[in-house]
Symmetry: C2
Subunit: 334 residues, 2 copies
DNA sequence: ATGAAAGCGCTAACAA
DNA sequence: TTGTTAGCGCTTTCAT
């Protein structure tokens, strides 16, 4: 079917090693180089990366495991990751595990069988037991957005705590005191961190927020809507709300409209992520932003460094990026 | 390093062929089966799919090329595609080509070298010359959302023309006559089809819309915003607008707010795609919807059928799916 | 049902 | 610089 290195050897009268050397950037006599290139053109030869992978024990494939491709936050990160990887000759093999830890483990297996050189994971659960075997082979695992509690891996995180602390500070500065928080699911890393940031901001101001002001959502649109309604109903004195991820931000806004709550006249609001959505709202939402592209870039680079050996396996690197804040018109000064 | 089939053979005292047969679901004596399974457990054996791929000339990998992973429409489709593929044992190798035909061609090369078994493409351009070589190897190429003008491939499309025709019909029924269209880029398949649908609806009603009512956008948020403003400024008599993709819908809405245009009191509006966004707007947007998950499922199934030989290479299948319409509150009866 | 042997396309010693 | 050879881990005849 497709031409092989043998065909090239035959056609040029050269040995296999010479062709291989040429293909791998070795030194080849000018005359032969031309002959080889002609043969490659004529026979439409293309290196068989599968064979190469078998021989070198390196597939030049990085496995990527994410909770939900169909999620802007993930998609933005992966877009960047894929770009960086491919620029370095690596292919991206992607598995969506539907935010399910069990499926995440299956994906690791699936990718391991395919002998990917490394694993880039946005973890769905807090345990990383399922990557232990992979790590033992001395192959790198780079975590994004959260890390495992039981297995040490390189990772690129975000300062979730600082993000919400900063948002609360701004609201406190605007003289708000009864600030509601639509928090994330219990046990989820980012959710807990963000909640801690909320508490920290009050603490440093010498205040203690009422427990009624914090409600747990499930990071979904409808969850955000339900939380917004519950918060408003149970806290007549509440003057501001923070939604702690994009989906819940959307849900909260929808519900506020539904309840005919004027933002920010009756209630100040701070959302999360997605700048596009924030800008499409009227008035523009004030939001916490995460540096998604930067996260992707860093994670991919970390992976490349591990893969090339530029960074030795024994040193585990952990990066934490700062979040941003984009001013809108949804915080009212009291 | 990792255990191989040889290790299993040695450990069990059986021949290579027996182990291979076991791995591929062949018949093995009960006693031996148990021995093999024990050995596999002990040695943590996992099939090396790379070696298998070299031997069988099948990698069980499908290459996926898309204009922009970071785009809800694409991401939703790919999520479904990946799910179906993996359920059939196929891995998804994804390349984002940034809506660039040249990069699309590079991606085909990249994936071809890696010997993917098939190619699933959401084309960025109208020519498919770059997949010709791949097809000649008798490997399937399935197109999504648009097809190539010069190369026949299996494909899963959407009735773009009917989608906009239907939207216009609804507006005509509500007694609108001066209906603006924020169309897509010239030469882009979906854009042209949607424009044709717009024209068809008027034609069948015995009307001819003024040329001033159609403006070309570039499928981006800011493009949509600019078009909205231009349309409104140049058409004081316009009573309704249709935006023909999601990003431009968002842009148009933002701009309408900016201009303090009341929707639907001063202007009726029909958007596109993204139901979540439509629901988050106040009032809820009436929108044309595309069956993204269904598109993904169909495309993946088509691929599987080709891959398994269930569908012979010589028969090219083309499916066209109906779009939907979700009523909101942005069409005013005149 | 099982074993022996060949070979997929490539790389990497080693020799020349 | 170039050629010869062995072998990566698997599947697949062909015997047995």
């Amino acid at each position: 079917m497709a031409a092989t290195i043998k065909d090239i050897a035959k056609k040029t009268g050269l040995g296999l090693a010479t062709i291989s050397s040429y293909l791998n950037g070795g030194n080849v006599r000018e005359k032969n180089r031309i002959k080889i290139e002609e043969a490659i053109q004529e026979l439409h030869f293309e290196v068989n990366e599968v064979a190469r992978g078998l021989k070198t024990n390196k597939t030049k494939i990085v496995g990527i495991i994410i909770p939900e491709l169909n999620n802007i936050f993930c998609a933005e990160i992966i877009t960047e990751v894929e770009d960086v990887l491919r620029n370095h000759g690596y292919a991206a093999m992607i598995c969506d595990c539907r935010t399910d830890s069990g499926r995440e483990a299956e994906a690791v297996d699936f990718l391991d069988k395919r002998r990917v050189d490394g694993l880039l994971v946005i973890p769905s659960g807090s345990s990383g037991k399922h990557v232990a075997a992979f790590l033992k082979k001395n192959k790198p695992v780079v975590l994004i957005d959260r890390d495992y509690r039981d297995v040490m891996c390189d990772c690129v995180l975000v300062d979730n705590r600082g993000a919400v602390r900063d948002a609360v500070r701004r609201l406190l500065y605007a003289k708000h005191r009864n600030i509601g928080l639509i928090a994330g699911p219990e046990g989820m890393y980012t959710a807990e961190e963000r909640l801690k940031g909320y508490e920290a901001a009050f603490k440093e101001a010498g205040l203690t927020p009422s427990e009624r002001l914090v409600i747990r959502g499930d990071y979904t649109i409808s969850g955000g809507a339900g939380c917004m309604r519950a918060l408003v109903e149970r806290n007549p004195d509440m003057t501001a709300v923070i939604a702690s991820n994009y989906e819940m931000t959307m849900g909260a806004i929808v519900e506020a409209h539904e309840m005919e709550l004027k933002i920010p006249e009756q209630l100040s609001f701070v959302g999360f992520d997605n700048l596009d959505f924030a800008r499409a709202c009227v008035p523009r939402l004030s939001i916490v932003t995460q540096p998604t592209r930067e996260i992707g870039r860093r994670a991919a680079r970390l992976m490349i460094q591990k893969l090339t050996g530029e960074l030795p396996p024994e040193i585990i690197k952990s990066e934490r990026l700062k979040t941003g804040f984009v001013e809108g018109r949804t915080i009212r000064m009291r």
